[in-house]
């Protein structure tokens, strides 16, 4: 899924902390992805346009497909996309998917996605949480940053560790809940 694409918006919004949460709710049959940042936020006017593929804030070309794609992939599984935003406070994007819907795109390699995001924005803090079947795993770069003591997340050896760390911890949870 296009977590990478959408989280990049948070990076561009000057966020210093981005929370990415993936939660499976068997009872309601929903898989919910939340990307919450403390970036510059959007005005109600901008917010009204963000899911329009022909709206983008960048100047290089006239299409912006990140959020429209996410909306489409959520809605075709009977889910929804909700965006809350306030100027100066940040933005919360919530996409819910039909957990067992035939059209739900596979999760893909979430560990690589999140680790790649952190590696490429080494100065931003991320909190990545996976919650499913009563289990929870949380990776918080603020904790890791303390351990790293100045060594960057962009260092390949660190990035490699991060990918394995997230993968080994999330894989079993997702597997036990039959999400991947």
């Amino acid at each position: 899924m296009n977590v990478l694409d959408v989280a990049q918006n948070s990076v561009a919004a000057g966020a210093t902390l981005i929370r990415i949460t993936l939660e499976a709710d068997e009872e309601q049959g929903l898989l919910t992805l939340t990307i919450a940042d403390n970036g510059k936020g959007m005005t109600p006017e901008t917010l009204a346009h963000v899911t329009d593929p022909f709206y983008t804030t960048r100047k290089t070309r006239k299409v912006g497909l990140g959020l429209p794609f996410l909306k489409m992939s959520a809605e075709m599984t009977g889910g929804t996309l909700a965006i809350e935003s306030e100027v100066g406070k940040g933005t919360v994007v919530t996409a819910s998917f039909g957990l067992h819907h035939i059209d739900r795109a596979p999760l893909g390699d979430v560990a690589s996605t999140v680790a790649g995001l952190i590696q490429c924005s080494p100065d931003i803090d991320f909190v990545f949480t996976v919650r499913a079947g009563g289990e929870e795993f949380c990776a918080d770069t603020r904790e890791m940053r303390e351990v790293l003591d100045g060594v960057s997340f962009a260092e390949p050896a660190v990035a490699q560790w991060l990918r394995e760390f997230i993968g080994e911890n999330t894989q079993p949870i997702l597997q036990r809940s039959n999400i991947i």
Partner: protein, 121 residues
């Protein structure tokens, strides 16, 4: 299972190598195009392969990072390599199995792999 203790060990190893080199100007940068076009073309496995190869060979002073759309979507995945004192080299249509050669011949050997570059197209 990977743990934070392991991370501390990586930190200590990194600190030793970081001290022996100077900052920014002698860093090699491997920049992978990761906009919608790049991701769709398979940029993420390429980024992972570079990260893995650099970590495996324990190279220091090499950063793997990303950029947005470079504007040549038909050539994605695109990777730009900037080495100190050399012109930028642009690799196109990259795949994970081309990575090892780029690392050994270009990043380590200093000689770009001409057949993978945009000039060869």
């Amino acid at each position: 299972m990977k743990s934070l203790q392991e991370l501390a060990a990586i930190r200590d190893r990194m600190k030793q190598t970081v001290n022996t080199r100077e900052a920014a100007h002698d860093t090699t940068r491997i920049v992978v195009g990761m906009a919608t076009c790049g991701i769709a073309a398979g940029a993420r496995p390429v980024l992972n392969a570079f990260t893995e190869e650099i970590a495996r060979r324990e190279l220091s002073g090499v950063l793997v990072t990303q950029t947005g759309c470079i504007g040549l979507c038909q050539y994605e995945p695109i990777v730009e390599v900037t080495m100190p004192g050399q012109d930028k080299v642009t690799y196109v249509k990259m795949t994970p199995d081309k990575v090892a050669r780029v690392v050994s011949e270009h990043i380590i050997g200093g000689k770009p792999v001409a057949e993978y570059t945009i000039g060869a197209r």
